[in-house]
Symmetry: C2
Subunit: 350 residues, 2 copies
């Protein structure tokens, strides 16, 4: 199968609008849900997985979640297509690499995605640009309500929602706020920040979630506790911690501007030049340079490039995006040449 | 004292014209001469040094060596002015840092310089752009003849010219060919080349002679033997070895173009971008980037920059040149900012 072409510039992640969006890329809420009457995913055989996938698919398609909803079966997809969805934060790496009948529903301009037969039977995810935890919670809550009308979710009056992994039991809700923290990274203050964050029982992860490296100075802050606190309490804690980090990153940026402007400008303009000059460039280096440039645009040092263009480049330069746009598998070496060419072209358009 | 302003773009070193000039920056011949009736410089007291300096100065000024001849006394100069002359290859670092009455005559658009009271009483140096050892030898020979008519040089019928250091006795002639060898450096073949060179009794030195590092992939090839061979024989050997290295560097450049073009272009364009983007840049990094860019222009990869501009930048970005052009001593940090600004300006003019 081939994925329907996703138009450039769509995707909630890319919009670059919303509160604190210079530092907070996106707010995501994820709910884990399981159907009662079925075993958890890790105990199912193929047949049971198929039935779960079929059941959820037909409900999701008919639940009026959004006009643009498409349900993708993952089994027939090749790895480039699966990785493409991972790069767009629509499915997890585990979901891409798993086996058996499973799928993902994508809807509302990629703001909503529902993974079926990931670790849990359903992983509902709603993502919005900027710091918008309450709004995102309201949005996913409506989705959850619509699905609850049609599906019988495993729920314990004492524990809350039941999940395949006990760490998710309770609200089964995970908030993730994707932050761009180049100034804290540059001034080596991230360790201190993350130490404080973990004392609040929040986790810090890289760009693509658990176990991934922090490319391009992007970090995800998320809650670890799902039991014993209401959704509203968890949202309040995460929101408050994120706002503190935002203030800290802003303070450090301001200090760089006033106390270390030549170094700051040197770093930003070198990144800009490198992106325009390179003929061969890795994904990792691209992320790192785009990160410096993104900070430069947000700080008003670079004026003729939009954040939207940079956000799009962060995504379009990823391996699967490059390969999908060329319609074939491409070697790492060839990708590095294509990536450099794409970046030059897009920055020249600006 | 203040040096008379040396107009930009003058200086034989900068012309960028002559045979094999893409690889051979300059050919230099240096003759060591001492006055009979005086002790060698290292055994002289201040008074004797003064008399030698006075004697040679008056002869040099009256010997019709060239209309533009100026004699500079080094003692009253500050270190910036002395280093400025070192950076222009008109005096040695040792001459700049020594004490006592001493000077330098500069003439023929900086092609000819005569250091007085360096290691020897006279060090006559003639430098031309490109590979021109015979022509340069002819030119310095005429200077030597003119001076010999007026000065009594210490000469032994059996040994030849007598010099302060026994390694120079005989012809007292040292040839130095400045080569730009980025492709051999990049492909790690320089060690092999230099091993072969030293088997021919030739020495390899960095940009500013003995004991200096090879900045910007510039290397000086020079003869070590001055005794037992005629000037013509020495010239023939150096010329032949240099031509072999030129062929080798060209062959490697061609191989890079045909076999590794994306990497080559990546290196060259990154250098170009970095020079245009940097807001703070060290002398060392500037040399290295200019070196890649110079190769790129010579190989036709970069088209809108002249070799003359690059040669000038190699010089104008040196610490003493920067300070002299601003008329004051400047901290390393401030120089790095000024250097970046100068490079951007000059490359934008192109």
């Amino acid at each position: 199968m081939t994925l329907p072409e996703t138009p450039k510039g769509t995707g909630e992640w890319l919009r670059g609008e919303g509160p604190e969006v210079d530092i907070v890329i996106s707010s995501r809420v994820r709910l884990a849900r399981n159907l009662s009457g079925y075993r958890f995913r890790n105990s199912c055989d193929r047949e049971e997985n198929r039935r779960i996938n079929d059941t959820v698919r037909s409900v999701v398609i008919s639940a009026n979640l959004g006009e643009d909803l498409i349900y993708y079966e993952l089994e027939p997809m090749n790895m480039i297509e699966r990785d493409y969805l991972v790069e767009r934060h629509l499915i997890s790496k585990e979901h891409a690499e798993a086996e058996g009948p499973r799928g993902v529903a994508i809807c509302s301009g990629e703001a909503l995605s529902i993974m079926v037969n990931e670790e849990d039977h359903l992983r509902i995810q709603y993502l919005q640009s900027g710091l918008k935890l309450s709004e995102t919670w309201d949005a996913i809550n409506r989705v959850d309500d619509l699905l609850s009308e049609r599906l019988d979710f495993a729920f314990s009056p004492t524990l809350g929602y039941l999940t395949a992994c006990p760490t998710n039991v309770g609200t089964a809700m995970r908030l993730s706020v994707m932050m761009h923290l180049p100034a804290l990274e540059w001034t080596k203050q991230l360790r201190k920040v993350f130490k404080a964050v973990s004392k609040m029982n929040l986790a810090v992860r890289g760009l693509y979630g658990e176990g991934t490296r922090a490319s391009g100075d992007f970090y995800q802050i998320s809650n670890q506790v799902t039991l014993g606190k209401s959704e509203g309490e968890i949202i309040a804690i995460v929101d408050s911690v994120v706002r503190q980090i935002v203030r800290y990153e802003r303070k450090v940026r301001q200090a760089l501007l006033t106390q270390n402007r030549p170094n700051l400008e040197d770093r930003i303009w070198r990144a800009h030049s490198m992106l325009k000059g390179a003929r061969i460039i890795s994904s990792e280096e691209t992320m790192s340079l785009l990160s410096s440039l993104r900070m430069g645009v947000n700080m008003g040092v670079v004026k003729d490039i939009s954040i939207k263009t940079l956000n799009e480049l962060f995504l379009e330069t990823q391996p699967a995006h490059l390969q999908k746009s060329h319609g074939r598998e491409i070697s790492v070496r060839e990708r590095d040449v294509m990536r450099a060419s794409l970046v030059r072209k897009r920055l020249a358009e600006n």
